[in-house]
């Protein structure tokens, strides 16, 4: 089966090339067929490989394929190679499966768009790069995918290019991601420097070997540096503090794109990368502490920012940032499988939420403001039910998927093996954030689907349920939001139903085996007693119910006046949160403007003295330039240039002599 791995990325690539090069001449039917089926084929191939993988012994579930030798430099040899183990298997199933559903949904949502072919070409390109990211057998192939999905997301955010907003948002996403990539690349360089390789199958055994020999102690500085640098990359791609700012703006793109790229797949790449690197992270507990702390902070603050947003997609955007925080809490407290579990369930329910919001926006003729909605439940029953399922899932109520994954993460955080005290704090923050999540998600449901319609008459007239190619994916995703969590039922609950096994944990176990060995060897024994576990689980459910009740009280019982009253009473807090703590403005002031002005300064003052005639003595200069070429020698520029050369040479000489 390992011979066929390359087919998974190949199909979307073919789709991209056909639609991208010839799509302009095709009808929409052919474009949709090519766009969807290529991803569908990838999904089918993935299923076959999965079946084959399951037939192997759990310890030997690693398939590799090397296509060609890519480059070799300085003892480092990098191949274009793929690797499938349970972790990448799960990821590729999510990517192609959810990706396929969203492609199908897009055939309905984007049908009216004039550049339909371009949209599908970009979408296929995204799936191709995402498959490279997930399947890559070394960090460099992962990096190709890593950059490629960024590029695809940049193109898709700016897809409509109607407003300057989209283009700016796209550029912001790309530049912020580049800052993250800076850390990622440095991490790779350092890894290559330390281990002499970038291939997963070389680096991790090498690290373990060095660790067992004692030459790479736990928390050794170089390892912490590698992990932190890689995490900088992850904060960029997966929208964590301090680089989360691009994700909410990225919602300017088409809604299915938000669902696929900015919720279900691309933004989770950072979580995948950390889980993939679990051996190194486990050997660097300080880095893990940083990951978990930043993740907890992100989970909480992003949740608070979601509370006051009125744009339906912005609410979901901040909730995505917040949920990514939970995933990072999972991988940060060495519960790698729990992070991946939440990644999977989140892909289901968040894709569902976004697609539902797309359905709502579609019905509202493009209006995204929740203040204009209300009472849509009657008009759009399927959208309402599916969205309610997904909302229950994200709020963490049993038996929906989010309950199991979030609870697993928070439970593991409570017993963080390396830093028990910090773990308890992270648990507390995470649980509080979960309550806020339940609050703002139900605020969204109440404002959108309940009460009376607040939009214009014209909008009301247009309200309709979406066509089948949009609702069928919704229903599938809603069912997955309900049942998806049952793959990872904790032992505590499982034993009530005749010892239901934790399927997912067992499946992923071989990937994280070494890490759990190291943890059990070095850390405080972190197992908590059964009553404590029950208490934690009950607490998170109670907190979620409190959040929902509060939302019900404020937006349903006193729907008319109370929100305004509260806003007036706590005007300062309201403003600060409404403006997202002014983080964008602070960044603009502290980072963007200084770089720009520094550039202008260097250019105009330190360099060149400005020739184009816009400067202070511009007009005079234009007159001069027309009069005589010889004058050029007298205008000072050439002398300055020459002087710089002379100064440069004399400096070199002085260095040589007085070295």
């Amino acid at each position: 089966m390992d011979k066929y791995i390359f087919l998974i990325p190949l199909f979307p690539l073919i789709g991209f090339l056909i639609n991208g090069l010839l799509g302009k001449r095709f009808g929409k039917g052919i474009i949709s067929f090519i766009g969807c089926m290529t991803v569908g084929f990838s999904f089918i191939v993935s299923l076959f490989i999965w079946k084959y993988l399951l037939s192997l012994e759990p310890g030997h579930r690693i398939l590799t394929q090397t296509l060609w030798k890519w480059m070799s430099v300085g003892g480092l040899s990098v191949d274009v190679s793929f690797m499938i183990d349970p972790l990448s298997m799960l990821m590729i199933l999510v990517v192609t499966g959810v990706g396929f559903l969203i492609h199908v949904y897009s055939t309905g949502y984007m049908y009216e768009d004039e550049s339909y072919w371009r949209y599908f070409a970009y979408l296929n390109m995204f799936v191709f790069f995402m498959a490279m990211l997930v399947l890559g057998g070394n960090y460099l192939v992962m990096f190709v995918g890593w950059e490629g999905v960024g590029l695809a997301s940049y193109l898709l955010i700016g897809f409509w290019y109607q407003g300057i907003d989209n283009a700016v948002a796209g550029k912001k996403a790309f530049v912020v991601n580049r800052i993250g990539d800076f850390g990622f690349v440095l991490g790779l360089f350092l890894m290559f420097w330390t281990f002499g390789s970038l291939s997963y199958l070389d680096v991790f055994p090498k690290a373990l070997e060095l660790f067992e020999q004692g030459s790479l102690p736990i928390n050794s500085p170089v390892l912490v540096a590698i992990c932190l640098l890689l995490f900088v990359g992850a904060t960029g791609k997966s929208a964590q503090i301090p680089l989360y700012i691009w994700l909410p703006d990225a919602m300017a793109g088409p809604t299915p794109v938000s669902a696929l790229i900015h919720a279900a797949t691309m933004v989770t790449a950072g979580v995948y990368m950390v889980a993939r690197t679990n051996v190194l992270y486990t050997l660097a507990p300080s880095a893990l502490l940083v990951v978990a702390s930043i993740a907890a902070a992100t989970a909480f603050f992003a949740a608070t920012m979601g509370v006051l947003q009125n744009d339906i997609k912005k609410v979901l955007a901040y909730s995505t940032v917040s949920q990514l925080g939970y995933m990072f809490i999972g991988v940060g407290v060495t519960a790698y499988w729990a992070g991946i579990f939440h990644l999977m369930t989140h892909a289901f329910f968040k894709a569902c939420l976004f697609l539902c919001s797309g359905s709502v926006i579609h019905a509202m003729s493009g209006d995204q403001d929740m203040r204009h909605m209300g009472g849509l439940a009657k008009k759009m029953p399927i959208t309402y039910i599916t969205m309610l399922f997904a909302t229950l899932a994200i709020s963490g109520l049993p038996p929906f998927a989010g309950f199991f994954s979030k609870d697993e993460i928070l439970g593991k955080a409570f017993s963080f093996p390396y830093y028990p005290m910090a773990g308890k704090i992270i648990w507390f923050i995470g649980t509080a954030g979960a309550g806020i999540t339940a609050f703002y998600m139900f605020r969204l449901i109440f404002m959108t689907f309940h009460g009376e319609f607040r939009g214009t008459k014209e909008q009301e007239h247009h309200l309709h349920e979406s066509p089948a190619n949009m609702t069928v994916p919704l229903v599938i995703l809603a069912l997955l939001s309900l049942f998806g969590g049952w793959l990872g039922i904790p032992e505590l609950i499982g034993k009530f139903f005749g010892h239901v096994p934790n399927i997912l944990e067992g499946f992923l176990e071989p990937v994280f085996e070494h890490s759990s060995n190291i943890v059990s060897q070095f850390a405080h024994h972190g197992h908590v007693a059964e009553p404590v576990e029950w208490t934690l689980m009950t607490t998170s459910v109670v907190v979620a119910i409190i959040g929902i009740s509060l939302a019900y009280y404020i937006y349903m019982v006193h729907g008319k006046e109370l929100p305004q009253k509260l806003a007036q009473k706590y005007a300062f807090h309201y403003q600060v949160i409404y403006n997202k703590y002014y983080v964008d403005e602070i960044y603009e002031f502290l980072v963007v403007l200084p770089i720009y002005y520094f550039s202008v300064f260097l250019w105009k003052v330190a360099d060149a003295f400005f020739i184009d005639g816009i400067g202070v003595n511009g007009p005079a200069w234009v007159v001069k330039r027309t009069s005589s070429i010889v004058r050029l020698v007298q205008n000072g520029y050439v002398q300055t240039y020459g002087a710089f050369m002379l100064v440069g040479m004399v400096t070199i000489l002085c260095f040589f002599i007085y070295r």
Partner: protein, 513 residues
């Protein structure tokens, strides 16, 4: 190795200097052809001259690539040498000439500038560049450097009606003379101290223990300054934006690649052959393994460390605030010089190989970018502002796609040649422990991504500022652009082939004598 090779016969000359011979003879013949075509229609004249030049460059590449690859030989009492290193760089430069000549056919017609001397100057420029890279003798280096530079000065000033072109070329000429004077003065000091102009004999003298004496250090600094000028390294870079902006777009592309390749190539040669005493005293052909730069290394390494850093930072930072695309690319070329210099600092085989690879990759993407720039320009300076690129993605999808590809490659995104090239040089530097420099270099490439990307993002925005009409597209330009684009992608996916050739080339530096 110290014997002067006195033998001379025509076959020998052809084997060693074939490339130069073809270009010089063909260049002289082109003058005759130009006179014959004087009476003819502009259109016919331009086409004949252009295609002949393309043919000449193609023939030169053919000769260089097909000559006996393992032959290492010298001629004219060790003035010129033929070795894999110089042949590799000669091919890079002739490729730059070939692509530039193909684009020039359309460019000159669009600008109403069809004149025979343009092509003749181009041929002589490449002939000079090949001579420069083949020189082992410092004086011949100076002469061939001037042959190349004089042709380039004239080409830079080729837009007679444009004050920008005149001004830029004049500055280039004045400052270039200054740079050459520094170089020549350094050479004179070398001769006065060591009694030789041959770099290997000079190395032998220096290895006698006098490497740190004052005259040698002064000469070293001056020679470095002369080369840094041509390489456009900060602070010897200030002419670059003015000249690149003013010169005809195709010539700018040629200057940024061929001249840079020549300067980097010959600088590495002087550095690793001439100022590497250990090599000369041991005479080991496999010096790549035994190289020890301990003698002069502590002198030049910190210098290039700082200049590379400054070039990367200043080039990238100033490019951010440029509004003219040619000026922006000029600053970007300063930054690229900085990246290449990182490979030199590594001073190991991987680093030199990385620089050679970088030169080739940069040639493809840079000439490609300038090719698109001239097409969108229509006439020189009609549409060079970044604002003019707004919305072009919808009017000229293929051109915009090509420009995006070249810019993405320059930004160093995988899987393009630009990424691999940067990876090679940075990996080489890290191997030698220059982690800080590599880190800062990667940081500057983040800034670089910003301004390269801005062009792409402007092209794919719908609101236009003004209507831009591109010039008519000539067939050879299309071919050149497609070759460059395919090369950029090919080198990104399968870099190993070129890299192994470049590795052989850099190893042969040890064979130069």
């Amino acid at each position: 190795m110290n014997n002067i090779n006195m033998s001379f016969d025509l076959y020998h000359l052809w084997q060693v200097c074939g490339g130069q011979l073809i270009l010089i003879v063909a260049g002289l013949l082109l003058i005759l052809v130009d006179i014959i075509l004087m009476e003819k229609d502009q259109e016919i004249r331009g086409r004949w001259m252009g295609w002949l030049t393309v043919f000449i460059f193609a023939a030169t590449i053919g000769h260089l690539a097909c000559r006996e690859w393992d032959l290492h030989d010298t001629i004219f009492m060790n003035v010129f040498s033929a070795d894999k290193y110089s042949i590799f760089i000669s091919i890079v430069m002739t490729c730059a000439g070939l692509l530039a000549a193909m684009m020039s056919i359309g460019y000159l017609r669009n600008n109403g500038l069809v004149r025979g001397e343009y092509y003749i100057l181009l041929v002589f420029a490449v002939a000079g560049a090949i001579g420069l890279i083949q020189s082992v003798d410092l004086l011949m280096m100076f002469i061939t450097l001037e042959v190349m530079s004089l042709a380039i000065y004239a080409l830079a000033a080729f837009l007679k009606d444009s004050s920008y072109s005149q001004e830029g070329a004049f500055k280039y000429f004045l400052l270039g003379s200054f740079g050459s004077a520094l170089f020549l003065f350094g050479v004179a000091i070398i001769y006065g101290t060591t009694g030789t102009l041959n770099i290997t004999q000079m190395a032998q003298y220096i290895s006698g223990g006098s490497y740190s004496t004052l005259p040698i250090l002064v000469a070293f600094a001056m020679i470095m300054a002369g080369f840094f000028f041509k390489m456009a390294m900060v602070p010897f870079h200030m002419w670059t934006p003015d000249v690149y902006e003013g010169a005809p777009s195709v010539i700018t592309g040629f200057m940024a690649t061929a001249v840079k390749a020549a300067a980097f190539g010959v600088f590495m040669k002087v550095l690793f052959v001439g100022f590497t005493p250990i090599l000369a005293s041991s005479g080991q052909p496999d010096f790549a393994a035994t190289v020890n730069l301990s003698a002069l290394g502590p002198y030049w390494k910190p210098v290039i460390w700082w200049l590379a850093l400054l070039s990367m930072f200043i080039g990238n930072l100033i490019a951010v605030s440029q509004s003219n695309i040619k000026r922006m690319l000029a600053y970007s070329s300063i930054a690229h010089a900085g990246y290449m210099a990182v490979g030199i600092i590594a001073a190991n085989g991987e680093g030199r190989m990385g620089v050679l690879f970088y030169l080739f990759a940069y040639t493809l993407m840079n000439i490609g970018a300038f090719g698109v720039v001239y097409l969108i320009d229509g006439m020189e300076r009609k549409a060079q502002d970044l604002e003019d690129y707004r919305g072009l993605g919808y009017i000229y999808p293929s051109l915009s796609f090509l420009l995006s590809l070249f810019l993405v490659a320059m930004a160093g995104l995988p899987p393009t040649a630009g990424f691999i090239a940067k990876f090679y040089v940075f990996a080489a530097a890290i191997k030698e422990g220059y982690f800080l420099l590599a880190a800062l270099g990667v940081l500057t490439s983040v800034i670089g991504a910003y301004y390269y990307l801005r062009v792409i993002y402007l092209m794919y925005m719908k609101e236009k500022v003004k209507d831009v009409e591109r010039g008519p597209i000539a067939a050879p330009t299309v071919v050149a652009l497609v070759i460059a684009a395919l090369g950029v992608v090919y080198l990104g996916l399968l870099p190993e082939n070129l890299a192994s050739v470049a590795n052989l080339a850099q190893q042969s530096l040890a064979m130069i004598f």
